[in-house]
């Protein structure tokens, strides 16, 4: 196993605070007040359907948003540093060193013209100034801990010679080769074969644990997240609608959307039958209501839900949610 991260300074939390983003041509913000806290060394799952803004929230922290995105308000802070106000150079210095990232599609993420070894060691050589031979050893070790078979061969090969699962392992090794404090993984197993998903996810979690990284795992699969993260946040139409410890969310969800997701997901145990589904579909950015964006699909919705933005109900250690209807429940 890999050596643990040498702790030089106390690692700070990565905090999204009321982040709001807009795209030109849309009147509503695409991210409408995203608040997340990724604690150092802990795991956080970000759950949402496609289009809910979970990828944008991730990219915003990395400074890799599309150039047209407009920052309307809010911050992403690492300690006292507001990542969104850093200049390009300062932000670049964080990437790979403090923030690592793994994305969805491993088949297109690696450079087809360069060997795995070259791409993997580039940050070590070019930014940390580690000589080639030594950088190669570090890469080998990272590949080994990510359980790549024949890591020496993998270093010499080009991406098309690897399988999808191997590519994603390489990308995980590559994102963590400089031992960042946080790893942001955006749907890291969604594009993979079902058979390899579990193994790759395991590698990701293990690597995060070994290096003591804070891990943000983005997914649309509530049970996948349920099995591997400590904290969870549920996103709907650009907002966080519920968050808290995974256990609480799975056992006593408070937001009707979280409840719908849990009910709609298939399970192996229990009687079979038609799965209850959430009627309707998520609204497009400009179809979102001023109040609760989930109101049109919600069986509990009151007439006021469509107009009044639901306040955040805090449950203390148990997180919180944004629904005035279920707030009154015991």
């Amino acid at each position: 196993m890999s050596r643990a991260k040498r702790v030089s300074a106390p690692v700070l939390d990565l905090v999204w605070d009321d982040l709001r983003l807009r795209f030109p041509g849309q009147k509503n913000p695409v991210l409408d007040g995203v608040g997340l806290r990724l604690e150092a060394g802990r795991t956080l799952g970000l759950l949402g359907e496609s289009g809910s803004g979970k990828s944008l929230s991730t990219l915003a922290a990395l400074g890799l948003l599309p150039r047209s995105a407009i920052h309307v308000g809010g911050t992403i802070r690492l300690g006292d540093t507001d990542l969104l106000s850093l200049d390009a150079r300062a932000r670049r210095r964080l990437l790979g060193a403090t923030l690592g990232a793994v994305f969805q599609d491993p088949s297109t993420a690696l450079n087809p013209y360069l060997t795995v070894g070259f791409q993997m060691s580039e940050g070590l050589r070019r930014i940390d100034g580690i000589p080639g031979r030594e950088a190669r050893e570090i890469c080998l070790e990272a590949l080994e801990t990510c359980r790549i078979r024949e890591p020496r061969r993998a270093l010499r090969s080009r991406p098309h010679e690897l399988s999808g699962g191997e590519k994603q392992r390489v990308l995980i090794a590559m994102a963590t080769v400089r031992h960042p404090d946080f790893l942001l993984a955006d749907e890291p197993t969604t594009a993979l074969d079902v058979a390899t998903r579990g193994a790759v996810l395991e590698v990701l979690l293990e690597r995060g644990h070994d290096l003591g990284m804070g891990l943000l795992l983005v997914s649309h699969d509530i049970f996948l997240l349920g099995e591997c993260v400590e904290q969870m946040a549920v996103m709907y139409a650009g907002r966080i609608v519920e968050s808290g410890p995974t256990r609480r969310l799975l056992t006593s969800p408070r937001h009707p959307y979280t409840r719908g997701l849990l009910a709609a997901a298939p399970r192996l145990e229990g009687p079979r039958g038609r799965l209850p589904e959430i009627p309707g579909h998520p609204p497009a950015v400009d179809e979102r209501l001023p109040g609760c964006p989930f109101a049109p699909r919600c069986s509990l919705a009151l007439p006021s839900c469509a107009q009044e933005r639901p306040a955040w109900v805090s449950l203390g250690e148990e997180g919180g949610f944004a629904c005035p209807v279920t707030e009154t429940e015991g």
Binding site: L94, L95, A101, F103, E122, H160
Partner: protein, 305 residues
Amino acid sequence: MLTRLLLGVLTLLAILVASFFLQRIAPGGPFDLERDMPEAARQALIREWGLDRPVPEQLGLYLKGLCRFPPDLKRSMVQPDYTVWEIVGPRLQVSASLGFAALCIALVLGIPLGVLAAVHDGKMADRVTMLVALTGVAVPAFVLGPLLKWIFALELGWLPESRWVGPANMVLPAFTLAALPLATAARLVRSEMGTILRGDVVRTARSQGLSERRVVFVHALPGALVPVIPWLGPATASLVTGSVVVERIFDIPGLGTTFIDGAFNRDYTLVMGTVIVYSILLILMNLLTDGLLVLLDPRARSARS
């Protein structure tokens, strides 16, 4: 590769047959221009060249000559003191150096311009570059050539206005000829580079914290050059047609001029010789770009090693 080579030979044959017949369909013949030639002498020449026989038979005889080694391109019908090769050879040298210079200018300036435009997508540098490129596509050589000549030769006197005696004579025609392929190369690279810069490979490279220069030149550029390679074939074709015009404008004794003069004079053998040289050039260029593409494809590359 062997199939492609065979296909190239077939293409060449098809071009030869087509141009042979097209020439004979065009009114007039090689000996019509000399008005004071006695009718009997004219008939004797026609018989001597075999022009009184059926066209397919003429074609057969011509192709038979080509199959010899070295291929027999015959003598020029209008200048019978020279073989076609004696006329075409030196002129090919002139045209080839002009075309090669133009292609180099197009690539050396066009590719960086495309990169510059893609990196500054939508900003001033992009707009200016693409305006220049659009101008390069839109302004024909017969406008650009005289314009450059007027400014740099006649007004400023920096460069010779025409003829072909030294390297300085090459500058204006080469740039005139390069304008169109330069613009095309810039647009090709800009478009591909733009796609790559918005793509996953660059996102990964950026997420590593690499400098923007490294992202652009190490991670994005190789992919952006790929569409330039298959384009080299058609680009050569456009250089060939362009050179016909440019050689006229700058009074250059090249193959283009030979081709036009040959066609005007109905110098059947000279035109056929020129057609053969042009066709072989284009077919070879296309074969070469196909080969290059295979060579650069990472899949094919590792299959060999």
